[in-house]
């Protein structure tokens, strides 16, 4: 018997939306900004973040940037446009094909992981450039499931100034997106990084999000031991696999290691809040 996380992970969507919108407003204003840019793919994560930001700051202060590659599914761009239109934001379109193709002309044998990572980092680079132009902060779109599993590109889609949804599992992202009234295709299509044709998160991970979320919730939030999860009906292989992914990707959730030589090393014994003086 395998349990999914839908009942376990049910959130008070109104409360969560107010916390996250307040977070965006507070942390953006506190550092002297009033606008944000978001990479909007048309998937549920970035659509939700765009909606939260739009509710928090007003649609005229949110710049969704749509950055397709030539193999991206045309429906993704259509979904992104629909979300943007529904929210009343004005999207920017930056096709990343020319620069990606120019780069890989020099490395024609690159596999799709390298290509995918490069695209994610190209989009990051564009977002930070657009943020400079708009005098805006980059808002991140990585959810808790992918952060814990390490299913993201370091300094690519994982890069941002603020991440409002990094403490929400994918199941909870869907629930909140539904509560905020995002368009049906965004809520029902299979999650995909859309880095190559036909890519699907759940195929690539070899996991269903509902199951992964339940296991992660028990392990991380409830601090249950693996034996307890097995007793709850999860297979030992699954519990082991997820635990291993979390450990293996720990480096992605931490700043780079600094070799300690002085008495006071950044982030080890030099510890200040980020909101220092704010």
């Amino acid at each position: 018997m395998v349990r999914d996380g839908s009942a376990l992970l049910e959130i008070d969507t109104g409360l969560v939306a107010s916390i996250l919108e307040g977070f965006i407003r507070d942390e953006v204003h506190k550092v002297g900004f009033d606008r944000v840019v978001v990479g909007l793919s048309g998937g549920v994560d970035s659509s939700l973040v765009t909606a939260l930001a739009s509710n928090a700051l007003g649609p005229d202060r949110v710049v969704p940037v749509i950055m397709p590659y030539r193999t991206s599914s045309p429906s993704s761009e259509a979904d992104a446009r629909q979300v943007s239109e529904m929210l009343g934001t004005t999207p920017e379109l930056v096709d990343i094909s020319p620069e990606i193709d120019a780069y890989f002309a020099r490395f024609p044998d690159a596999d799709r992981t390298r290509r995918g990572n490069k695209m994610a980092r190209e989009r990051m680079s564009i977002l930070y450039d657009r943020s400079m132009e708009h005098r805006a902060l980059v808002v991140g779109t990585s959810n808790k499931t992918e952060l814990l599993l390490g299913y993201g590109t370091l300094y690519g889609d994982m890069a941002s100034a603020l991440n409002p949804i990094g403490d929400l599992y994918k199941t909870q992202v869907f629930a909140l997106a539904r509560a905020l009234g995002l368009p049906e295709p965004v809520l029902t299509k299979p999650p995909s990084a859309d880095l190559w044709e036909g890519q699907s998160d759940e195929d690539e991970l070899g996991l269903r999000y509902a199951v992964a979320d339940a296991v992660l919730y028990h392990l991380v939030d409830e601090r249950r031991r693996p034996e307890e999860l097995i007793a709850l009906g999860f297979t030992p292989e699954l519990v082991d696999d997820i635990g291993r992914r979390v450990r293996a990707s720990q480096y992605k959730r931490r700043p780079p290691l600094i070799a300690k030589v002085s008495k006071r090393t950044i982030d080890r014994d030099f510890r200040y809040p980020r909101d220092w003086g704010r």
């Binding site: 977070f23 200040y272 809040p273 704010r278």
Partner: protein
């Protein structure tokens, strides 16, 4: 900055020329539910002074500020940099603002031997009258207080000077800072020294948003504040801060509970607010006649049992 006034319970000042002289012994207590600027003591001091001036003009006898209201909460290595000595200019400025009104203010106090305490200062009549140094410093989960701060070791009551003025009997107060409340021996020790009002400044963050268990921490404080007020038949003023620090939201919900365990009003929301509440001294008498728990408390049994337990199990149990 002007605070949004959520619920003004104030009688207008013409009706109340003598603040504390009516038969019910009523006083007005204000809760300054603010979002301090993290690590910016100068800005926060100025803010406090502004609030004190406003609250005094509105007839309040006491303003309770949240935990670490002069510094913000997640200070980390800012603790020594934001710490104040009792003879500092900042404290002098606050004392000067507390001539017509009392204040309970949160700050980091540095001792002569360079220990840093999470403290609440009761300021009245232009001077610091009482210091409570937080005894229970949470160091688990998202909390890390014992890494940076020294622990206090006393729960002492104080006479509340301005509240006492013109009152038939003096008001006695006792301070519990946030995590102190999670240890029921703390209010019990205060109650044994006679407490009419628990003053509870707090910096309680939001955790837990699952459906049905919405805002787990707020529910815990709901239970604790009502329970302590009722069991010790005393008023309880809970002033929690608001705002965000490094992505962590503080949920506010400041309120005053009466000595029968009933809140005097709905808890505040999670925006900044200066909340005034009229508190009647006579409610204490009525509650203690109806439910004479203080009269019936068996301190002798408590002491004898404490001795026995220490004998049998050692002092750490």
């Amino acid at each position: 900055m002007v605070l949004e006034r959520q619920r003004t319970r104030l009688i207008d000042t013409q009706e109340q020329p003598e603040r504390q002289s009516e038969p019910t012994g009523a006083v007005v207590i204000a809760m300054a539910q603010i979002a301090p600027r993290l690590g910016d003591v100068a800005t926060n001091v100025a803010r406090h002074v502004g609030i004190l001036v406003e609250a005094a003009a509105n007839g309040a006898g006491l303003v309770v500020f949240p935990e670490l209201s002069l510094t913000g909460y997640f200070l980390k290595d800012l603790v020594p940099e934001t710490a104040l000595r009792l003879d500092s200019d900042e404290i002098a400025t606050l004392c000067a603002a507390c001539v017509e009104i009392d204040a309970l203010v949160g700050c980091v106090i540095e001792s002569d031997d360079s220990r840093f305490y999470n403290a609440a200062l009761y300021i009245s009549g232009g001077a610091v009258r009482h210091i409570h140094r937080k005894v229970y410093l949470p160091t688990y989960g998202l909390f890390d207080e014992q890494r940076y701060l020294a622990t206090g070791d006393r729960f002492e009551t104080l006479e509340l000077p301005l509240l006492s003025r013109n009152a038939v009997r003096p008001w006695h107060g006792g301070v519990l800072i946030c995590e102190d409340m999670w240890h029921p021996s703390a209010p019990s020790l205060l109650a044994r020294q006679s407490v009419d009002v628990f003053l509870c400044p707090s910096a309680s963050p939001v955790r837990g948003v699952l459906r049905g268990a919405a805002l787990g921490t707020a529910q815990s404080y709901d239970v604790m504040t009502r329970t302590y007020a009722q069991l010790f038949t005393a008023f309880l003023v809970y002033c929690n801060r608001v705002g965000y620090e490094d992505g962590v939201k503080f949920w506010g919900g400041s309120r005053i509970i009466g000595p029968d365990g009933a809140p005097l009003d709905e808890p505040a929301g999670s925006d900044e607010a200066l909340i005034y509440q009229r508190v009647e001294r006579s409610a204490l008498r009525r509650a203690r006649i109806e439910t004479p728990l203080l009269r019936d408390e068996r301190h002798d049994v408590n002491d004898a049992e404490t001795d026995r337990i220490r004998r049998e199990r050692g002092s750490t149990s």
